[in-house]
């Protein structure tokens, strides 16, 4: 039996082919206009799963970077306060060493001025110990809204004693800098200033106040003892600066690692989601060409009929 070819069959075939070509063209057009290879989960279910993971990884890294920048700022502020304290200790030592070691009439006359200066510097050290960053006490530990160091003053406003608020002062504050990695972004509040409590070993305020009082009373023996202690305190505070500096460096290393990691993730995400433009445009042109061919062929096939010739 010969195969009949009917008009509706021809028309059906032509329409089906043209529709198919149009649909492929539309898919390519969507890819090019959105720039995305995947526009819905069914375009590539596995790719979408990967993209969800990568995106949440990228968002996590962004948060880590923001944690690092907050932590870096606070560590820098703490180092600034500690360095300033370290400088002040050096100055106090220099000023008073002259007075203690060279007891000449000249230096005796200088004594009241030196004492005034030392008082000034004690105040500055006290301010450093209560330093704030964005309204929060840097050396208060978890008690960030309460002054960690409390002073007692005499009638002239000179500091006569300094005590600490024990609650929460040595609590570490942690920031997450990479998945599962936390770095302490504060310096323990007692450690640089009075690690062993009031009057204990390495109590900066105790030492400088004893030095000032000895100079005031002229007890050069006690002054010399206090000066020795002060040198220990200087060591101690520099250790604190070194610890903070170490943490800062750790954060900087992590920051640049995070950045690289984030770039890799971005690239990976782009590989998965983004369309290869050159390829897509070539495909589009080719598909367009096929569509034109199918239209022309359709027009040629459908048009003629026996009726035209009888």
């Amino acid at each position: 039996m010969t195969i009949r070819v009917t008009n509706s069959q021809q028309m059906g075939q032509v329409m089906s082919d043209i529709n198919k070509n149009l649909r492929l063209l539309q898919e390519l057009q969507l890819q090019i206009s959105t720039g995305k290879r995947i526009n819905q989960p069914s375009d590539d279910p596995i790719g979408v799963v990967k993209s969800v993971g990568l995106k949440s990884g990228i968002a996590a890294t962004e948060q880590h970077q923001s944690n690092i920048s907050d932590g870096t700022a606070r560590l820098n502020a703490a180092i600034l306060a500690l360095s300033s304290t370290s400088d002040l200790l050096l100055e106090i030592e220099g000023l008073s060493a002259d007075v203690v070691n060279n007891l000449t009439p000249q230096t005796s006359a200088m004594r009241p001025i030196v004492i005034t200066e030392i008082n000034q510097m004690i105040n500055e050290i006290f301010i450093n110990a209560n330093a704030k960053y964005l309204g929060k006490y840097l050396f208060g530990g978890h008690e960030s809204l309460t002054r960690p160091y409390i002073e007692a003053t005499d009638a002239y406003g000179n500091i006569t004693g300094v005590s600490r608020n024990v609650r929460g002062i040595d609590d570490p504050i942690m920031h997450t800098v990479a998945e599962g990695i936390g770095i302490q972004i504060n310096v323990s509040g007692s450690m640089p200033f009075m690690p062993n409590g009031e009057g204990g070993q390495n109590d900066i305020f105790d030492s400088v106040l004893r030095l000032r009082d000895a100079l005031t009373s002229g007890d050069m023996g006690a002054a010399s003892d206090a000066l020795d202690d002060l040198r220990d305190e200087f060591e101690n505070i520099n250790v604190a600066i070194a610890i903070a500096g170490n943490r800062l460096q750790q954060m900087e290393t992590t920051e640049s690692n995070n950045e690289e990691l984030s770039i890799f993730k971005q690239m990976n995400l782009s590989d998965i989601l983004d369309v290869d433009m050159a390829r897509a445009i070539i495909d589009l042109n080719y598909q367009n060409y096929i569509l034109q061919c199918s239209l022309e062929v359709g027009a040629k096939i459908i048009a003629p009929s026996l009726l035209d010739f009888i």
Binding site: T6, N7, G12, P41, D44, A60, H142, L145, D171
Partner: protein
């Protein structure tokens, strides 16, 4: 020689005219859906005995036949079920994909990431109102996203219900018309002389349309009636149709059922199958998984949240779980009251002086759900703090747990001296000091007290304002494998929901494409055998036109012959 040649010519003309009529009918119906081309079957008239032999007596139209292709037609009916099923299923899968809205930067994954990351923003500055409002904003974003995912999925289910109702009406209309046609075809063909060609075309088209909606089987009985069944349920018997109706199933969704008995019919194909599969299986599963995701999120975040401390202390703390039977031992409370069960353990409360922040009283309350009721716990809390009078526990008017600080006091749910916290899930179970309320993607919301006072977000593990430890713990939840018995993180779980929907949709699209190609092939084959070819009709038209002319000429010639015979002699 007689006049019979004249009648032979007349009959030939009549036959040619009849055949031309059929050709006209074919041409007129070239684009009519379901039309099967027809042919006039010409048969020679019975011959006459004559000397020297039999003599032909011309032609007549014996029948007008449909040139149908039963085999292909049955195949189309069969495949049309699948075509209908895949087509509608694919559309619904696409809708699910649109609701999930991935991959974008506004999907649920972004909301989850933003929410957890905001807890580290809080950890960076637990003292600040700003960080707390960021947490609230991001949490609200997550809650809204979960709510809308759940609502949109349910909206698709409701839409499916509407469509099922419409499809059931369509089935009833189709079966009714088939029953009417059964009657007509039977009466036309009763004598065995006439073929009800066009009526049969109509009936076959209706069966094809019916098959697209529902898988039915049909066969013609000896009375030319088409009997139609769907998995044993009779839809058309003789000249009678049995209507269907849409009835609610156990989940409150509509299913097709016998209108009289109310018994649901078994659906194994057609659009109804696609609708039911999408609604009950795919969307149902996706909704269940979203609920699991939301419930796990609520449980884990709330558990940690109940174990933390606020910025400014509680003056009062209310639960958001309404307990209908506070006197019943807690182990027997049903899910309607308590989603997250109470364990045996201890929870702690410390009261502080509002002004100095000094500890007034701290108490450990042991909880044993197997022997104690909520009322028992309330009594033991009040008794424990009766010495200082710094805290009382009770029930609100609508039976929610409530703790109230005494005059000049505030409290936290920790033991100040040891920093111990609730290990009994008691606070979690009754929604005290929690972050979220609700227990599903549909019902998840921010706890009222948290939105009213962001200071009650628990960032710390102690009464110090700079303590960020609890915020860090909540932040770390995003990397913890909380689901599928400790193998999957929240984000991964969500990714699996998206990939399942994507894979299902991809498969559905491929099935639909294959089915469309198959249907096209069958329709083409059908068109090849039963469709009208204009060229063929034109050729036939020429033949019958010439036949008519020749027959007329023949009559004229016979007339001349007779004229010679009658007048010329």
């Amino acid at each position: 020689m007689s006049f019979e040649q004249l009648s032979l010519g007349t009959e030939a003309m009549r036959a040619a005219q009849g055949a031309l009529g059929v050709i006209g009918h074919n041409i007129a119906n070239i684009n009519t859906e379901g039309y099967t081309r027809q042919r006039a079957v010409l048969v020679t008239n019975p011959p006459q005995d004559y000397s020297p032999g039999q003599r032909g007596t011309g032609v007549h139209i014996d029948a007008i036949k449909r040139l149908t292709d039963e085999f292909t037609r049955l195949q189309i009916e069969e495949e049309n079920q699948k075509a209908g099923q895949y087509e509608i299923y694919t559309k619904l899968m696409e809708q699910i994909e649109q609701v999930l809205n991935e991959p974008t930067d506004t999907g649920l994954q972004t909301a989850i990431s933003d929410f957890f990351n905001s807890f580290h923003t809080l950890a960076n500055t637990p003292e600040d109102y700003g960080a707390r409002s960021v947490v609230l904003g991001k949490a609200q974003g997550l809650v809204t996203k979960l709510n809308s995912l759940s609502r949109q999925m349910q909206a698709i289910q409701n839409e499916v219900d509407q469509v099922i109702r419409i499809k059931v009406d369509e089935i009833n209309s189709l079966t009714e018309r088939i029953a009417v046609l059964n009657d007509k075809i039977a009466s036309v063909e009763a004598g065995g002389i006439q073929n009800a060609n066009d009526l049969r075309d109509s009936r076959e088209l209706l069966v094809k349309q019916l098959n697209k909606i529902l898988d039915v089987t049909s066969f013609e009985d000896e009375n030319k009636n088409l009997l139609i069944e769907a998995q044993g349920a009779v839809l058309v018997a003789g000249t009678r149709s049995i209507p269907l109706s849409a009835v609610s199933d156990a989940n409150g969704h509509l299913v097709p059922a016998n209108a009289n008995s109310g018994v649901p019919i078994v659906v194994t194909g057609g659009e109804l199958k696609g609708l039911l599969d999408a609604r009950d299986t795919m969307i149902g599963q996706t909704l269940d998984k979203l609920d699991t995701l939301a419930s796990t999120l609520i449980e884990e975040v709330n558990r940690l949240h109940t174990q933390g401390t606020t910025l400014s202390g509680h003056l009062t703390a209310q639960g958001d779980v309404v307990v209908s039977q506070p006197a019943v031992i807690m182990a027997l409370l049903t899910d309607n009251d308590v989603t997250y069960p109470v364990q045996a353990g201890t929870f702690y409360i410390t009261t502080y002086d509002q002004v100095t922040g000094a500890v007034v009283d701290e108490q450990a309350i042991t909880v044993d759900p197997a022997t104690q009721s909520l009322n028992d716990i309330i009594n033991s809390v009040t008794l424990a703090f009766s010495g200082t009078g710094s805290l009382t526990a009770g029930l609100t008017g609508d039976n929610r747990l409530q703790f109230t600080a005494g005059a000049g006091c505030q409290f936290e749910f920790i033991q100040d001296s040891t920093e111990n916290t609730d290990d009994s899930d008691f606070l979690l179970a009754f929604g005290v000091n929690t972050f979220f309320s609700g227990n599903s993607a549909y019902s998840i919301a921010l706890k009222d007290s948290v939105t009213a006072d962001p200071d009650t977000i628990t960032a710390g593990k102690s009464a110090s304002p700079g303590d960020n430890r609890n915020a860090l713990l909540i932040y770390a939840l995003q990397n913890e494998r909380l689901l599928n018995s400790g193998t999957t993180t929240l984000t991964d779980y969500y990714a699996s929901i998206v990939s399942e929907a994507g894979t299902e949709s991809q498969t559905a699209k491929r099935n639909e494409e294959t089915q469309t190609a198959l249907m096209l092939m069958l329709e083409q084959r059908m068109a090849s055998s039963t469709g009208v070819s204009l060229d063929e009709e034109a050729a036939n038209m020429l033949i019958f036109q010439r036949m008519f002319q020749a027959a007329a000429k023949y009559i004229s010639a016979m007339d001349t012959v007779l004229d010679t015979l009658i007048n010329g002699l």
